[in-house]
């Protein structure tokens, strides 16, 4: 038994403490009992808003969640205030629990006198709060609310039974975007913008507004196509640039050293520098090739040309992917053959060594006349030997392997066919910077012989030449008597 100096005073202090504890316990109980339903209601409101009003800003769900919490707290406080017992009743409870025989209760009304020392106080009681169910409901409610806040908007919309089935279309668009992303053909912002558009389309997919949904889908698809075409155009231009530059380099390197004018080499160097400023990849190639802009020797030019062809090949693979995803017209994917976006091709099969290269140089290296002359000289020199021509004479035929034919199974030995560089067998008649003026009689003769340059319809035949034909081809081109 704990005998206190002034038990009545001690009891009052104890009563105050007990009242505070009971208040906290009642508040928690009330809070938890309201929190569950409030969280469920808030979660339902958030879900309804997300379903019917589309995606919400972050502030709205947070506000709803906060409102649920505040409401629970207010209700908890209200319930606590409603059930919180008076301090006097708590003293009476202490009396009944402590076995004071009503003396503590009596001491609240009359002077206990000599009995003051006989008052007994129990230890501070424990407060048992049966709120297991409330806690469970509150936990479930909070999980529901958090789930309602965190569930992706697309899931909510896809769960909408009134949505149109545009999964194939959206999947296709998604795939196109992935290709564009993988090939690094688009800027990050553009991709994000398109992805946001795709998500918005899924959110706003509503079967009750079919026209609007399809309009959105079409608009997005058009946007993706335009983006793909623009990206493809850029790549194609790059490929074309690389191809043209590599061709020009090849042309220069193919000329005998004494026939390469120094001005042409300098202009080629200037052109490369100019292009390198716009194209970091080209700049890197130049750096790797150890080029000095003022000294372009044939070996450097050859290495540069090879590197550019490799790079061009990589870019062409990207183009192939774009074509595969129908982001680009297949015909436009071939450099040098497309004048416009929709495949308005110009002179398919034209020689990049010839007029195309000349016109490209005119456009991209204006004023570099020596360079243009030197490159065209190669064309006139008959680099495309075997095709014949009224001004080109005979030359080495390039062997082309097509289909499934592989060169690896054949034993190949390269040698120069005498003729082109042999003054006894061939001769340079004239070099032209542009197409030569052909005499009318020659033109007729060419037309009669189905040679290029005639104004009659030409017949072209692609005859596959396989390795086993090599001997026959060589025999054909070997001058008689040799």
């Amino acid at each position: 038994m704990k005998r206190l100096e002034d038990p009545v005073r001690k009891a009052e202090v104890m009563g105050r403490q007990l009242r505070r504890r009971i208040g906290v316990a009642l508040f928690l109980r009330g809070f938890l009992s309201v929190l569950g339903p409030a969280a469920f209601a808030a979660g339902a409101v958030v879900l309804l808003l997300r379903v019917f009003a589309g995606s919400l800003s972050a502030a709205a769900p947070a506000g709803i969640a906060a409102a649920a919490l505040v409401l629970s707290a207010v209700c908890g406080a209200g319930m606590a205030a409603r059930h919180l017992p008076e301090r006097r009743k708590l003293l009476v409870w202490l009396d009944s629990a402590g076995g004071s025989g009503g003396m503590l209760a009596a001491a609240l009304e009359v002077d206990p006198g000599a009995w003051r020392g006989q008052l007994l106080l129990p230890p501070m009681p424990k407060i048992r709060v049966g709120c297991r169910r409330g806690v469970a409901v509150a936990a479930a409610g909070m999980i529901f609310l958090v789930g309602a806040l965190l569930i992706p908007q697309s899931r909510i919309v896809s769960g909408n039974r009134h949505a149109l089935d545009i999964t194939e279309e959206t999947a296709e668009l998604e795939q196109k975007l992935e290709v564009l992303e993988e090939a690094s053909l688009m800027r990050e912002e553009e991709l994000e913008d398109l992805r946001a558009g795709l998500e918005a389309l899924e959110i706003n997919n509503d079967a009750r507004e079919t026209a609007r949904t399809y309009e959105l889908l079409d608009a997005l698809a058009r946007k993706v196509e335009l983006a793909g075409e623009a990206a493809g155009e850029r790549v194609r231009n790059e490929v074309e640039t690389l191809r043209m530059v590599s061709n020009a380099l090849d042309s220069l390197s193919a000329l005998p050293l004494d026939q390469v004018p120094p001005e042409a080499a300098a202009q080629m160097g200037a052109l490369l520098e100019q292009l390198a400023r716009e194209n970091p990849e080209l700049a890197e190639m130049l750096a790797n090739a150890g080029r000095e802009s003022s000294k372009l020797d044939p070996g450097t030019m050859k290495r540069l040309a090879d590197a550019m062809r490799d790079s061009s090949g990589n870019l062409e693979k990207k183009l192939a992917k774009l074509v595969e995803q129908k982001l680009m017209n297949a015909r436009c994917a071939r450099p040098g053959q497309c004048d416009g976006r929709n495949g308005a091709c110009a002179s398919p099969g034209s020689c990049p060594y010839g007029e195309d290269l000349a016109s490209w140089l005119e456009k991209n290296a204006p004023g570099a006349d020596e360079l243009q002359q030197a490159v065209l000289a190669v064309c006139a020199f008959g680099e495309e030997a075997g095709k014949g021509g009224i001004s080109r004479g005979r030359g080495d035929a390039l062997l082309r392997y097509i289909g499934n034919t592989k060169d690896s199974s054949a034993t190949r030995r390269d040698f120069s066919v005498a003729g082109a560089n042999d003054p006894a067998q061939s001769m340079v008649v004239q070099r032209f910077a542009a197409a030569p003026n052909v005499d009318e009689s020659e033109r007729r003769a060419a037309a009669a012989g189905h040679l290029r340059g005639g104004d009659v319809e030409m017949e072209q035949r692609d005859t596959p030449v396989y390795p086993e034909h090599r001997a026959a081809v060589e025999r054909y081109f070997t001058p008689k008597g040799k």
Binding site: R29, R88, V92, G102, V110, G113, P123, V129, G130
Partner: protein, 350 residues
């Protein structure tokens, strides 16, 4: 309404308590094995209430009352109730008498009720008319005959007994009249050890004579001390809630009460509860009524006042069961905490 400004001091309460305890001890010595009955009987006497003892023949009811009368030095009379007993046999009557001067006068001849302690043996055997006369006198503490009211002696107690097994030829006391008894105490048998002691130490079972007697002045002091036992408002409120909870239809009524009780206890029950709780506090040596005092007397006060219905009989629910339930469910302090919240007190070490 309490007018006390302080509790009765221990030095005043202690001798009175010792006296009461001595009476109780003496009763325990005279009649073996019935301590609780003796305690309730003494509480009833201190509360100035009438007591109904219910028990089988031969359990010591009459002996108990006799011993009590002897101890308290009070006049004791016994009335054996029979079906042909008339009210005048109990209350008395006017008899025409010749005076010494030859004049004839109607002279009142008091009945057996004019005594301090009246033992109404087998009260349920008398006719309702006789029972009513008796019970009216119990309530009024006076007898009115031919327009003349004669007060009964003070103190006046009726200790009635009834046999619970022989119902043929009896007139069960109506519930309204049962309410006039402060307690209804069931006097049960005793165990084998007590019986052995009775047989071995008491010749023909006769109880020993009291070793002391309480004088009228001492008894008055006991009654005075009862007036000074303080009943605080929270304890009074507890008693009121306890009685109200036994009323079907009241807001405080328990579901079990609604189901099994036809009528609850009257306000007189609350008064009886308060008085008997005071006496219990006095016996415990406390200056104020405590919740445990109320709980200790509640079964004796309420058991004959809760009128059970047929459903209770069918399910063999007794009034004692319901009283235990009331004591368990009705919270002493009336904190009004919501369901699921409870205070759990630690053990109070004495």
């Amino acid at each position: 309404m309490n007018h006390q400004t302080e509790l009765i001091p221990p030095e005043e309460l202690q001798p009175i308590r010792e006296r009461a305890c001595r009476i109780l001890d003496e009763l325990d010595r005279i009649l073996l094995g019935h301590h609780e009955v003796h305690r309730l009987l003494l509480i009833g006497i201190l509360s100035r209430g009438h007591i109904l003892l219910e028990g089988l023949p031969g359990v010591g009811k009459t002996a108990l009352v006799k011993a009590l009368g002897s101890l308290l030095s009070l006049e004791f009379k016994r009335i054996q109730f029979t079906p042909d007993l008339l009210p005048s046999d109990i209350l008395g009557c006017n008899i025409l008498q010749m005076m010494p001067d030859g004049e004839r006068k109607m002279v009142f001849q008091p009945g057996a009720i004019f005594s301090n302690i009246v033992l109404a043996d087998e009260i349920n055997r008398a006719s309702p008319k006789t029972q009513s006369a008796m019970l009216e006198a119990m309530q009024e503490h006076a007898v009115t005959l031919l327009g003349e009211t004669r007060p009964l002696p003070d103190p006046f107690f009726v200790l009635a007994s009834q046999n619970p097994i022989e119902l043929e030829g009896t007139y069960p006391i109506p519930e309204a009249q049962l309410d006039r008894f402060l307690f209804k105490i069931a006097v049960g048998g005793v165990d084998a050890d007590v019986l052995t002691e009775i047989i071995s130490k008491r010749r023909r079972g006769e109880p020993p004579a009291p070793t002391f007697h309480v004088t009228a002045a001492e008894l008055a002091e006991l009654f005075d001390a009862m007036e000074r036992i303080y009943l605080s408002e929270p304890v009074a409120n507890y008693m009121a809630r306890l009685v109200a909870a036994g009323h079907p239809g009241s807001p405080e009524a328990l579901p079990e009460v609604e189901r099994f009780v036809s009528f609850g206890a009257s306000p007189r029950a609350a008064i009886a509860l308060a008085e008997s709780a005071r006496a219990a506090a006095l016996l415990a040596g406390r200056p104020s009524v405590g919740f445990e005092d109320v709980k200790s007397v509640a079964p004796a006060v309420l058991n004959h006042r809760l009128i059970l219905n047929y459903q209770a009989r069918l399910e063999k629910v007794t009034s004692f069961d319901l009283i235990d339930l009331l004591l368990e469910k009705v919270e002493p302090a009336g904190l009004g905490l919501p369901a699921g919240v409870a205070l759990e007190s630690g053990e109070v070490k004495k």
